[in-house]
């Protein structure tokens, strides 16, 4: 593969110059031969693996790091998600954790020198009955105590924010209120992945695409090497960042965890002029909608109802989705779907991740990201890097340890994460 020059710092002037004088933009990370050993081997080049490498290099000066992916950068959930970023979760530990990620996202374009297009358009979770309204009040109070901008609003205010929404009482599931979270919004997921990849590469970490981990060698209960289709790598630290495939890596060191892989589908319409200025989520209708800067409507739903590693879309999904979206916004009935796709989600029983050390020394996990892990990329990378560099588990991820399952300390984010992502 061709050697790419170190990407220069991006700037408005550089952009104009390149646009006028040169052809394609070069790939922003380089290709390397696989070395026989690395200090840290990260499995999975999604946002979690890439951010972990980036913060290892940036915050801790650890750069002898390989990020391995059996496919390509962002080929997993990180390139397939609907990129909703928010922090209005239900548990205090969840709220604090995701809020750190929102803060990191707010400064990420400047930090990475890569425009991640974070648009904080506001996030609305609709309530269609009294019991969800009650959970939302509860969530709003937890959020406010943690200093998060979050409140319950009524149908009139919803109508002002989203004029196209059917807030009348003559629907099957009338809208009785919403949890409104102004700092929530969307990012451009590819830009986040590529920005972290470039930042890690510039600092000396190596990204190896088409490099599949096939087994992991242990000796005396600790990791000593990983075997790949491109050869063996000696290492004392392996980080599992493979989301939907995480169970298949865990079993290589003899571990089983509370993970079930479910496909999650999404769809996008043809682009139209901007009319939707908030992310709209309805748990009861199992659907959410946002509009991209290009004008396409992005739709998502809940996971497919059975475990699977297949990433095929289904007609049931499209049919149900369309029906439910039209209950919310009947005015868009004539719009056409452009495409639909699926990604794999590693679901845990408490809708919270599994992060940190495991019974196998040197084998760390940052998994269980289910349907909601893209927003957590920055804070997870920062925390995992700190854990690897210092050997102590950072305070903000202690609640997400593996030991919570045998010890019965589940986190309980279902109420805030089941459809909302």
């Amino acid at each position: 593969m061709s050697k790419v020059r170190y990407p220069a710092k991006y700037s408005a002037l550089g952009l104009i110059k390149h646009g006028l004088m040169k052809g394609d933009w070069p790939q922003v990370w380089r290709h390397h031969e696989l070395k026989p050993s690395y200090d840290v081997v990260i499995v999975g080049a999604g946002v979690h693996g890439l951010a972990t490498a980036y913060y290892l290099a940036k915050n801790h000066g650890i750069t002898n790091v390989a990020i391995l992916d059996k496919g390509y950068v962002g080929g997993g959930g990180s390139g397939r998600n609907t990129s909703i970023v928010r922090s209005n979760y239900l548990t205090p530990e969840g709220v604090r954790f995701y809020d750190r990620s929102v803060k990191l996202y707010e400064g990420l374009s400047a930090d990475l020198n890569f425009n991640i297009m974070f648009s904080q358009m506001g996030h609305l979770t609709l309530a269609h009955n009294d019991s969800s309204l009650r959970t939302m009040r509860w969530r709003a109070e937890v959020n406010k105590l943690e200093g998060i901008d979050s409140d319950v609003i009524g149908p009139d205010e919803i109508k002002k924010l989203v004029p196209y929404m059917d807030t009348s009482e003559n629907t099957r599931y009338p809208i009785v209120g919403a949890l409104y979270h102004p700092p929530g919004g969307t990012v451009r997921h590819d830009a986040v992945n590529w920005g972290y990849a470039r930042g890690a590469d510039i600092r000396g970490c190596e990204i190896h695409q088409q490099t599949e981990v096939q087994s992991i060698e242990t000796a005396d209960g600790r990791v000593v090497a990983v075997d790949t289709n491109r050869g063996r790598i000696a290492t004392r630290t392996v980080v599992n960042c493979t989301a939907g495939w995480a169970s298949l890596i865990n079993v290589m060191v003899g571990l089983k965890m509370p993970l079930v892989t479910h496909p999650l589908q999404a769809a996008v319409t043809e682009p139209v002029k901007k009319f939707l200025n908030a992310v709209v989520v309805s748990g009861s209708l199992h659907v959410y909608v946002s509009q991209t800067d290009r004008g396409e409507l992005v739709f998502g739903a809940s996971t497919d109802p059975y475990a699977s590693y297949s990433m095929r879309g289904s007609l049931e999904f499209t049919e149900e989705l369309a029906g439910h979206v039209l209950e919310l916004m009947p005015g868009i009935a004539k719009m056409r779907l452009l495409r639909q796709w699926a990604g794999l989600c590693d679901m845990t029983p408490d809708f919270s991740p599994i992060m940190g050390i495991t019974p196998v020394e040197g084998f760390l996990v940052d998994i269980g990201w289910g349907t909601y892990g893209f927003k957590a990329g920055p804070v997870s990378g920062e925390s995992m890097a700190q854990l690897i560099a210092t050997g102590t588990t950072p305070e903000n991820i202690k609640a997400f340890d593996l030991a919570r399952f045998p010890e019965g300390r589940l986190v309980g984010e279902k109420g805030a994460a089941a459809v909302g992502h």
């Binding site: 169970s247 509370p258 892989t261």
Partner: protein, 94 residues
């Protein structure tokens, strides 16, 4: 879409069912520790392979049964009554 062959109703759209999950044997309640019980409740094999799992025909005969399905292709090669029900069926004759 996948079609699930219910042993009672024949092949039906998967939307009529609830996929209960991988079949495991339930530990003896009288002698298990809380840790073992939680292990049984939460821990999954989550294989990318042929698996044996339990399905429930929610919008049909409302019975539980066992299915052998490949989790990468979603192919189904067998569905049958769960062992416990087979025993019951033979015993009670219903």
């Amino acid at each position: 879409m996948i079609q699930v062959p219910c042993p009672w109703c024949g092949p039906r759209n998967s939307m009529e069912f609830r996929a209960v999950g991988e079949s495991k044997s339930r530990p003896d309640v009288a002698t298990t520790t809380p840790e073992q019980w939680r292990q049984y409740l939460y821990t999954k094999s989550n294989l990318a392979d042929w698996v044996t799992e339990t399905w429930y025909h929610r919008a049909g005969c409302r019975r539980y049964f066992a299915v052998e399905r490949h989790t990468v292709t979603n192919d189904i090669r067998e569905s049958r009554l769960p062992a416990a029900q087979l025993r019951q069926k033979e015993g009670s004759g219903s």
